[in-house]
Amino acid sequence: MSTTKKIAVTAVAAAIGATALAGCGSSDDASSGSSGTKGTGSKTVTLVSHDSFNASKGVLKEFTRETGYTVKVLKSGDAGAALNQEILTKGSPRGDVFFGVDNTLLSRALDNGLFTPYAAKGLGQVASDVQLDAEKHRVTPVDTGDICVNYDKKYFADKKLAPPKTFDDLAKPAYRNLLVTENAATSSPGLGFLLGSIATYGEDGYQDYWKKLKSNGVKVVDGWEQAYNEEFSGSAGGKKAKADRPLVVSYASSPPVEVLYADPQPKTAPTGVATGTCFRQIEFAGLLDGAKNEAGGKALLDFMIGKKFQEDMPLNMFVSPVTKGAKVPELFTKFGATSDKPATVAPDAIAKNREQWVQSWSSLVVK
């Protein structure tokens, strides 16, 4: 009995202590965090982004060394959710810079007036075809990534079947019941793949294409994690789950990731990319309207299109640099694939039609 009493007393004491601690902690945090509520002298610059944001410690330290600012990162959900949270907190943002709005959602951000225009230093070195807001500079392009169909090399070798290359191929009887894709309404690779088909077949033809894909046995799951880890036979997770779909909508950078995170690293990637099925995503960053540390935010934007950050990105976020002369690691060039002519759709057209496209896609394929 006496031990239980001790436990109870300790628990209550711990509870009270922890609450007190919580009290201190929060007030502590309020004064040191949120990028200096005390005006412009703050040495912290806050970057708000989605869950996929990554940068190596070294490169963030380098930024501090060059500019004197420390970066604090806030990640908030997937790309769509992160952007929507920014729109909700417009005018009273949680940070100074937002990174992670892509060309499929760009208009939503711009129409809501999220960003303060700023022409980052070094824009001249950035490829001009990704500068989608070149006149106003509300956003700065940071990286590109291609959404493409990946294939399980072993499956196609075993079956002595050539892997598909193009959108057309995917609808052929040889590839019946092999493809898994994501819900275009809830997943950004899913939406990218749908947009790729629209870019290829036009607004009049994409529905016919999806009818063909459906009768050819395409499977739709909700998110990338399920599609890639549970359904796709070429991924590490899929192998364990005895997945049976050798084709999946993923990224052109997925094969190098399979190599990097394998132990021991294989000589060739277990998966390949159907280069004729790619849709190009461009990701942007921008200075948030109402940012408390504008100067720091501007410095961060300059830094993000600088070589050091650009060369750090590929192995952290598995995207390609946009700055000319930024070196891409060998792992990327050796195991990844690049598409010569990735499909794109203009942001304005996407903004105008996205909902209607997704809705007719849903009623055609999901229901």
Partner: protein
């Protein structure tokens, strides 16, 4: 009472009201026409209909499978009973991201059913229903079984001596005593399945959507706040109704039942029939609950070159993940424990004070407050999370980037468990004891320390344990606010699963296994602490 009311006003009611208001107001004018507009959409009606029938079906199936389990756990003694009772509760406090993956391994391709009979249930409604049984089995076993073990079996025996048949005796004596507990358990399961999010998203595929999933899609993906607001209010009304009925059944249950010590009612099974029943229940538990959990463990050990602890070792290094984490994934365990501890403290203070206030006073208003404390269980995390964003944005309450938000959100979910555990025990404390102490000259504090505390400390520990386990597994709200430099376990698992590559997948499984073990250990400790089973969980 002031503390819990203030807590709920600031961290629940105000944020939720603000985000709903944002959706329903245009230029300062309420747009109630949006109700008709949204509710007449065929896709929304489909969601409502699916939400309702899958919850009904899930509840029925859970009762069907778990009631024999409740009986076995209440009436039979068998080796490993405590361990097993803790094990069946693990799913209830695990995040769905983790369990969805494990469950797919049972029902999906290459799963056990597929191997044995070629049956695959992934992306069918059966997967959803069975997963709901998996998650809610413990609710029935704990709520119904807890009471069942305290019913005096001699009452039923007396009825049989007086000439009633076995079934008639059960129907006339045990069933009426048990009915309110069964109703309460059924309503809790209905509440949890009605607001199901992770299970439906992971196992159901894009063809199925519950209200909760739809609110998430409309808010986080489409930013269609008006639609989300209407759906939130519809869910609110439904959850309010469920809770009102629940509160009513709970009150009925509290009416005079002659309860006995559970230790006296359980005995070793006798006869073929009872052994078969025990075997059947154990088999069900094995296949439906232990197997998915075991698959998780198996995958965490399944290295490319055979089985081993390689993924666990990799968790300790930040380098292996380059930038996925700024710290080693192993540190997520420390973060989770710290957050959960603070959340538990908050939940204990708020829930304990609320329970105390509810015991001292009676009346309609207080009863309403009782139900109000349960509401966070039925309101979507995304609504609360987005509400935090637009309300807690001004000093002194600009907490949007503060770490305290995580334990605050977790405490919201923990408080109902504290209240439900503490309330019956507190109500059982005889007020005259306290008065006697006062008469003898004890100060109120002393009276509380000498009279109340010894009587409730076990309940307090059980409540703390539950709040702790629930906080550990909380994912929905945490994912919105967890900071990258200190992710919690479930958030770390989700991040690892969000990347391709063998090492990431393996580490996700290893972390899930650790989370599962931490939950199981804290629940097992609870089993040892608690002796009375009058609480509801």
């Amino acid at each position: 009472m002031a503390v819990p009311v203030a807590f709920f006003a600031v961290f629940f009611a105000y944020p939720v009201a603000a985000i709903v208001g944002r959706g329903l107001k245009a230029d300062g004018v309420w747009q109630f026409g949006r109700f008709a507009e949204v509710l007449s959409r065929p896709d929304i009606r489909e969601v409502l209909w699916f939400t309702l029938w899958q919850a009904l079906a899930s509840t029925a199936l859970t009762l069907l499978i778990a009631l024999p389990g409740a009986y076995v756990f209440a009436r039979f003694d068998f080796p490993g009973k405590q361990l097993l009772r803790a094990a069946v509760t693990v799913p209830f406090v695990l995040p769905t991201v983790v369990v969805g993956t494990a469950f797919l391994a049972l029902l999906g391709r290459g799963g056990l059913l597929d191997d044995l009979w070629g049956v695959r249930l992934d992306t069918t409604v059966w997967a959803i229903l069975l997963a709901h049984v998996f998650f809610n089995y413990a609710v029935v076993v704990r709520t119904v079984g807890g009471l069942w073990s305290q019913l005096d079996p001699r009452q039923e025996e007396a009825a049989r001596v007086l000439g009633a048949g076995r079934f008639a005796a059960w129907r006339r004596v045990t069933l009426p005593a048990l009915a309110p507990a069964v109703a309460a358990a059924a309503l809790m399961v209905f509440l949890f399945t009605f607001t199901s999010f992770g299970v439906v998203q992971i196992l159901g595929g894009p063809g199925f959507s519950t209200l909760e999933v739809e609110i998430y899609r409309q808010t986080a993906q489409l930013l269609a706040l008006p639609t989300a607001a209407v759906l939130t209010l519809v869910q609110f009304a439904a959850v309010g109704a469920i809770l009102a009925v629940h509160a009513w059944t709970v009150r009925r249950r509290e009416t005079a039942l002659k309860l006995v010590d559970p230790a006296q009612t359980a005995r070793r099974p006798r006869g073929a029939g009872q052994w078969t029943l025990l075997g059947g229940v154990l088999l069900t538990v094995l296949v439906l609950i232990l197997l998915p959990l075991a698959i998780l463990v198996e995958r965490s050990l399944d290295l490319p070159g055979g089985h081993g602890f390689g993924y666990y070792r990799a968790l300790a290094s930040a380098d292996a993940n380059s930038g996925t984490f700024l710290v080693a994934p192993l540190e997520a365990i420390g973060n989770s424990l710290r957050y959960a501890l603070v959340a538990t403290a908050i939940a204990l203070v708020v829930g304990g004070l609320a329970a105390a206030a509810l015991t001292r006073r009676a009346g309609r208003l207080v009863r309403g407050f009782d139900a109000l404390l349960m509401l966070p269980l039925g309101v979507s995390a995304v609504t609360v999370g987005f509400g935090f964003l637009i309300t807690l944005d001004k000093p002194p309450l600009d907490l949007r980037t503060s770490w305290i938000l995580v334990p605050l959100a977790q405490a919201l979910v923990g408080v109902p468990f504290v209240v439900r555990t503490m309330l019956p025990v507190l109500r059982a404390v005889d007020g005259r004891l306290r008065e006697a102490a006062a008469v003898l000259g004890a100060s109120p504090l002393r009276a509380w320390r000498e009279v109340d505390l010894p009587l409730v400390r076990r309940a307090l520990l059980v409540a703390a344990g539950f709040a702790f386990a629930v906080s550990l597994g909380e994912f929905g709200a945490t994912v919105f606010i967890a900071r990258p430099d200190n992710p919690t376990l479930p958030v770390a698992v989700a991040r690892l699963l969000g990347r391709s590559g063998d090492l990431n997948y393996g580490q996700a499984m290893a972390l899930s296994t650790i989370l599962m073990l931490v939950c199981a250990v804290s629940l097992l400790l609870l089993e040892r602490i608690r002796t009375d089973r009058s609480g509801e969980f």
